[in-house]
């Protein structure tokens, strides 16, 4: 028989220890909450003075909190507050906040954090460098743009864009690790804060072995309407990865020319279902009357979802003539009768 008493003592004892630990934590948290309230007030005053007064007496601020700056948690708090204010403000206020940050020597700690092995501290430091635009640390950050940890790598890529704008995209030349869809969205948002500056390399990125780089390059072409890259983009429509092909269809729709709809009708048959839907939707934007016979032909598909999208495409290409075209679409046979009814209502709206 197993001796149970030691186990009972162990479980009850550990419960008691955990309970005491929990109460101590709660007590400390409550004390800290009060302390943070006080500190928050001090930080807010400094930040408000920096942002709203013309005369920034940074040295005075530094003196008033000199002793507090030696406390790690206070430093963390004021850094957090300055970072959040820097994100919210632009122009002169933004510059003043950066000045405040540098005068408080908070950059000294960011370098320390950048060199630690702990990924989240490192990633946070990189984020800080980006927000505070610490350009002198460009090289150190750039080194991390292909870091094996996704978060470190992503924050480094974002920070590089924050530091040098479109030029920072050169990390795409060498990045071998994937860039997630989430971070692609963030990168595009960061770029939108800069005035569009022509940038080189997209043609190379479109041929990258890293499919996420190809997709991101296609999104860049889409976002900045890089019509001159039409031919290079067109080649991506034959890429082996279906996600790349899907993004290519979306992108090429934005920079389309007279031959685009022909290209779409040519590849339609061989495409996977999800891409067929994207093509049909793209033709709603760029299709012409010439494409209608092709679309009517495709309506023979058994797939009702595709049928609906194709019918909508026909209607959108030529809404005025849709009533006449309907006669060719088996308007009395299910499900076309119901689909046509829905599309007609959509056009009316």
């Amino acid at each position: 028989m197993i001796q149970l008493k030691p186990l009972i003592y162990l479980f009850f004892g550990t419960s008691l220890v955990l309970l005491i630990y929990m109460l101590v934590i709660l007590y400390i948290k409550n004390i800290n909450r009060e302390k943070y309230k006080r500190w928050s007030k001090i930080c807010n005053n400094i930040i408000n003075n920096t942002v709203y007064s013309d005369d920034i007496n940074v040295k005075n601020h530094q003196k008033s909190i000199e002793s507090l700056l030696l406390i790690k948690t206070f430093r963390k708090l004021i850094t957090k507050k300055i970072l959040s204010a820097t994100i919210s403000f632009s122009g002169n206020s933004n510059n003043s906040l950066r000045k405040l940050y540098l005068h408080l020597h908070l950059d000294k700690y960011v370098i320390e954090n950048l060199n630690v092995k702990n990924w989240h501290i490192k990633a946070k430091a990189i984020q800080e460098i980006g927000i505070m635009k610490l350009e002198s640390m460009y090289d150190k950050v750039y080194k991390n743009t292909n870091h094996k940890n996704e978060l470190v790598r992503a924050e480094a890529q974002i920070a590089i864009i924050k530091l040098v704008g479109f030029k920072g995209l050169k990390f795409l030349d060498s990045v071998t690790q994937p860039i997630s869809e989430w971070y692609q969205m963030i990168l595009l948002r960061e770029l939108s804060h800069f005035d569009y500056d022509s940038f080189n390399g997209v043609d190379v990125w479109l041929k990258s072995k890293n499919t996420s780089v190809v997709i991101f390059a296609l999104k860049l072409v889409d976002e900045y309407h890089l019509f001159e890259l039409y031919k290079e983009v067109e080649l991506c429509i034959y890429h082996s990865d279906e996600n790349v092909r899907q993004q290519t269809i979306k992108t090429i729709t934005k920079i389309f020319n007279n031959s685009t709809s022909n290209l779409f009708t040519k590849i339609f048959e061989s495409e996977v279902f999800s891409n067929k839907i994207v093509i049909a939707k793209s033709l709603q934007e760029i299709g012409t009357d010439d494409d209608i016979p092709f679309l009517i032909n495709q309506l023979q598909t058994e797939n009702i979802q595709l049928k609906t999208v194709l019918t909508r495409t026909i209607a959108k290409i030529n809404p005025n003539n849709f009533e006449t075209i309907c006669k060719e679409l088996n308007p009395d046979i299910y499900p076309m009768n119901l689909i046509i009814l829905q599309i007609k209502e959509e056009i009316r709206i």
Partner: protein
Amino acid sequence: MSWQSLFFEIFSYGIMMYSLILIISYIFIGVYSIGETKHYLNKNSFTDYNAISSSSKAPRVSIIAPAYNEGATIIENVRSLLSLHYNNLELIIVNDGSKDDSLEKLIDKYDLYKTSYFVNSQIKTKPVKGVYKSRKLIYRKLIVVDKENGGKADALNTGINISSYEYAVCVDVDCILEQDSLLKLVKPFLENTTKKVIATGGVIRIANSCVIENGRLIQVNLPKKFLPRVQTLEYIRAFLLGRMAWSRLNGLLLISGAFGAFDKEIAIKCGGYDTETVGEDIELVVRMRRYMEELELPYKVSFIPDPLCWTEAPDNFKILGRQRNRWTRGTIETLKIHKKMFFNPDYGILGLLSYPYWFFFEFLAPIIEFFGLISLAFFAYFGMINWTYFINLLLMVFSFGILYSVFAILMEVLTYNQYKKKSEILKLVLTAMLEPIFFHPFVVYSAIRGNIDYLRKKKSWGEMTRTGFGTTNKTPKS
């Protein structure tokens, strides 16, 4: 040795071994969840969700909320869902043949008109009577579907058929969602580069006694009544420890029906929710996982520890009993449908770990406990019990139960700390001590009833009466 003694020895050792394995797996779950929660919190600490909420590039999400006889609160509930911070969103309310005035209220409030909407029934459902949209531009995200009654799963399938976006978020219409809940739920779909995320879920918390104002959670309070409070503790344990650990193992089987997101394409390919089971939420996740395993596609079911959704817990034994009865039947039905995976190495972690765990420790646990009690009476009658040892065994199990609960409360304090007052934490600890005496036996009883009802082929959900949030604006719910 007599046959009675032999049977007694085998039985005792069997129960002992089972308890030890159960305790070891709980210890493993508790410890293993720490890493996942820590990783998530570290990662989340510098994620800017606001950047995406208003972006037109954010993934498109269809919220599907089935409603049955929700007339008393439907307007408030829809308003709450419409106010979520998210740009690319459509909200589909499926009126599942309500007998009350839910539909009329919606038509009236949101100025709805019946459209000529063609429903592409990719998943078979009960007939749709009408699809309504609003004439007002501000409610353009709203779609109301009126259909014949077919149950929750059927209503959700109808919503999936109607939805035009890539991700389907299925919610209980009376849940209170955090403003950024959609962003947090959708993010895992976009950040995984090596595995396809097929479903995500977040933590469900108990809203009883919380202050709700205009469909928003204003103040978190610990439930005043014992039953909701003990469920609060149960949910903390299940979500903060259990699901985080299973998520880390990529073995999660359950995304709560109250709030979960799915890759719509995969959900449709799997045939949508099973209308023949009362555990449609767990069954769909298991089926989607099985589908991915059979196609040998890399995938993940993701779970995040943020409290995203607040729901009202049953506050009387009658309703609670129905809920637990249904959960038991849902588990049995799901395990039966997918019995092929039991210890089947072709299904990896799913077949070798997740399924057996659910079988032995979710399905069998109450049965073993129940028969343990009967055997105890039997052995006691024949004077075969070593009472000192028995009491020690009982104390050991009791002390471990308390330890596990205290650990879960500690994790809550260290992470989200929703209950900030010392008195609330002490009440939770006290609840943990009372739970095995006043709550757990009832849960076992309900599970046994669930087993019996399953054998009797009972298929009903059982009525779930709720007080509702809409009627108690600005006042704490008790």
